[in-house]
Symmetry: C2
Subunit: 189 residues, 2 copies
Amino acid sequence: MGNLYIGLVHYPVKNKRGDIVASAVTNLDIHDIARIAKTYNSAGFFIIQPMPSQKRLVEWIISHWTEGYGGEYNPIRAEAFDLIRLVDAIDDAIAAIKYETGCPPLVIGTWAGYPGETVDYTKVGAIIETGIEPILVLLGTGFGMADEVEDVCNYVLEPIRGNGEYNHLSVRAAAAIIMDRLRGITQTD
Amino acid sequence: MGNLYIGLVHYPVKNKRGDIVASAVTNLDIHDIARIAKTYNSAGFFIIQPMPSQKRLVEWIISHWTEGYGGEYNPIRAEAFDLIRLVDAIDDAIAAIKYETGCPPLVIGTWAGYPGETVDYTKVGAIIETGIEPILVLLGTGFGMADEVEDVCNYVLEPIRGNGEYNHLSVRAAAAIIMDRLRGITQTD
């Protein structure tokens, strides 16, 4: 699964009222999703955040946990943080993957209540297994990614459902479940 | 899966040096695991924390998100928080489940690097499906549950593995993956 990238989208996302906004960074999103990405052998974890003050915060957190005291105190955390790249926009993440791999990624969107056509985990797992194209899975913060993000998505992943009607997982929990489901398909040992 | 309970253990757990300590509460553990529990139709989420100052903090957080402003602002969060029970010790969680269901729970421990014999998700899923006994899955905070917790566990669950050697997920991510894997077995639709 070395060709699978995660993108955590802070812009464009919806707020509670449905307005398009840039969302603030949550420290534990960075820690949790970096560790999930490392656990499932992801090729990179893009934090997509254009706001200068928020970018400085992310840079400070990354630097603390890689070069700073955090990295010394917890070198295992530093290993996961090495996967993080901070970019301004989804297009920048796509361009970076194209530059790294020579191929633009298949972009896979995730929305908790998506009403349209979706692909299931088996299909995405099969695409990953071919190893032909890199894959970028986009996860929304706030109240989900803006509808316009659909335009850059090749597919939308089947929403996570539990055993009932309740469907309000944190983005950290959703990231964990999505990566585990895709790994269940692609892992061979 | 209405007979499956989650227990988040703050005591007894290990710290970085392996000493047995009570760990502090993390606000987002409460939010994330309550939502995971609700999504996967769990019967209850026990926070196992004996320290008085930490118990007051948990009580304050629960009250804010159920009766207070948080509950008004976000009634969906309140639904998840209704699953939370705060107890002093693992034995108190066991006693509460016995009182509620008339049957003591099968207790299932989780340790990231457990060296002994474990059960896999299929076996636990099969036990859940029979519906005969309630199940309590214990999740450790800090650097994992103290070894003595093994004495109250009927089984230890197979550790989560990704696609490589890295195995340092947050307890929030582990809770999400464990509940999703068990649901994958027991869900029939």
